[in-house]
Amino acid sequence: MWKYVVKRLLWMIPVLLGISVVIFTIMYFCPGDPAMAILGNGATPAAIEAKRIEMGLDQPYLVRLLSYLNQVFLHFDLGDSYFQNQSVLSGILYRMPYTLIIAALCMLLQIFIGTPLGITAATHQNGFADRACMIIALAGVSIPGFWLAMMLVLFFSVKLGWLPPYGVGGIQYFILPCIANAFAGIASQARQTRSSMLEVIRSDYIVTARAKGLSERDILYKHALPNALIPIITVVGNGMGMMLGGTVVIESVFSIPGIGMYTTNAINNRDYPIVMGGVLFLGAVFSLIMLLVDIIYAYVDPRIKAQYEGQQKRKRRSKNG
């Protein structure tokens, strides 16, 4: 199992290398000159050129790409922001807690609201509860996050005055952003849980369990749910990626100084090091989450664990002869 984890971690290197090359190339060919942005409209061409040389923007594509990869992968340095006089890594580390708090809280909402909704819908298939849950789920996948965010602000902040409309501070500042960001995830989770549970509930061993006289609760939570978990976990993993991506919009709406807002501002300013560093960081986090999901698969489903271990045993056997 550990070998599998190490192998997956090593696989992250080419993944991150690929992300770096792609994002660097996109930013390289993206129109807009950071030197001109720093100097403003009245700058002379000579001043702009001098600034470009100072920033290394006059170098050809390959030179800049190799220099960037060398800096990131051999020196673990994401570079310095063009505008902030600060290293990108420290900027990311400063903002990371805000983004991770939002993503983690959204994840919890997704799991603890979406899963029970899906189970309720499955166990009451075609009934009132099923329809109610699925209407909520349909609304969740249909409503754009930024619109929901503004509606929540208008109702809970402007109309009721219960929660702050924006900013950071205590936990109350995270309630509206998390609801807005998690709603789509809750909906996906509920829909996936419902369909997985329906499939499992119809299985022979569930009929057998009922015939043996087990309580419905035991049947659901001890026999059906564990067997329906694999697709649910997949949705959770993908959801985490969506949550991280979604924070870009939510952080802008709620003025939360997380990595999303950091990266968005950098895109507008053509602050290439921040954009590349931000995307690389989110890529690394997402890769780690997907690894975590794969590991959880193994613990949830002994067949998958056996498969991981089986591969290693097979290799050992073929080595021994």
Binding site: P31, D33, L39, K51, R95, L160, V168, S255, N265
Partner: protein, 525 residues
Amino acid sequence: MKKKLVALLTAGCLLGSILGTSVSVSAAEYTRANPEAVVVGVMADPENMGPWSGMSLGRIAVLFTTYEYMITREDGQAYGVLAKNWTEVDKQTYDVELYDYIHDAAGNPLTASDIVFSFETAIATKNYGKLSPVESVTAVDDYNVQFKFNKELEMGEFENIMLECAIVTQAAYEASADQMATTPVGTTAYKVDSYVPGSEIVFTNTGDYWQTDESLVHGTSLHNADKIIFQIITDPSQHTNAISTHTVDISNGVPATDIDKFREGGEFAEGNIVSAVLDNPTYDLEYNMSDASVFQDDLNLRLAIAHAIDREGINLGVFNGEGMAVKDFGNSKYPDYNPEWDNEEYFDYDVDKAKEYLAQSNYDGSTLRLEYITDSNMDMIAQLIQAYLGQIGVTVELVPYDQMMGQQEQYNKDGFDILLKTTGSTDFIVNQWKLCWDARDYRDMTGGTANFVVDEKLDELMQACLNTETYGPESIEAFHDYLMEQCYGYGVVQGPVNIVHSAYITDVALDMRNQILPGGCTYAE
């Protein structure tokens, strides 16, 4: 049982709504976001609060609360701040005397060597094009500095150079671990208590401002507030929510569509006031005058376009009539603007005349590309222009760019036919013109003026306006008339800056860029 549960839940929700409503009513009675501080909503994070990190939307909002400059400017007039007085030795040399009792917020005394340090460091960053004429800055003694320039300075140029470089003491700068990026120390009455990047900056009044003679303290150095909190709110609609929930006291970021909600009879009028002033930048149209352009040798087409656009209609449609249809590239706020221009005919809206000019032009019915940097006002103006030109049979394709692309694409002669842009100067109308029509600034990029005009007479007239010896009503009038005659471009409209604020702010102070000066505002007791 289920019915009872549903009924209870419904009752709970109703009770919650009623209680919530009552909270909002009582909240409306409050007029201050924070009883100990004035809370200002700003649109962007300064990102780097260091003294010489270039210019950005976030930085200009907090700059004068953080730093002082050699001089300041109010209503076009320059006043000394750190500079006690200054004299022109010759066209390329200026002597500046400093007050001899200046100290920064950390208590470090500021002398001539700090001025030298500030200018030399700022120039070395290469972030300030306006400082390029500075050849040397020398400390004559502790309180006298001599500036030498590599060219003869033009109208307002010395003042603009003095206003370009924030001044700090070398001691404070070198004591800062991050070159003052998060812990700036200027000579204002305020020091930064805390800075949460992307969220808020808290300033407190040190109570130890160096300038004790109140008659010498000008708007940018006033310090009427004990504590100032700048809250960074990037989403414009959240500025509306912030003011309406009394989370901030003052903001210039409320979208134009929400302004009426804060005016008398509006949803959030209670306890709030809207103060409006004309903004500095002028929205103007410039024709692409490069070789291959349809406009280059076609004055009739240029005039047809100009007469087809109803500038007053744009003012009404985009700014609810609170802006101004301009008669040049600015208005009478500039001291050298001739008020008589307001009464003259300036490409007045006349569809028939426009059609006549169009008929006499070489226009072949091709689609013209209107390029602009996108924002809500620009989008609306561009759409209105498209509609107005459609009335005379000219098809217009809109080419919007974001700020960064637009900055670059405006010098691409193949990228557009008409350019809609904003230009703004804080001192004289001649410097407003300079931003478009001084070919010396653009020749390397465009071969002529900003919009590719190659016209020796225009260049001569422009330089006559900028030269301190020939500057005057005659040269200004000549340039204004020639520009109207040639119609290489013209001013369209100026928009308003709407400052929405709590009623406890009785008078709003703005700097020369129309940014809020919380230290200069007047507050009710």
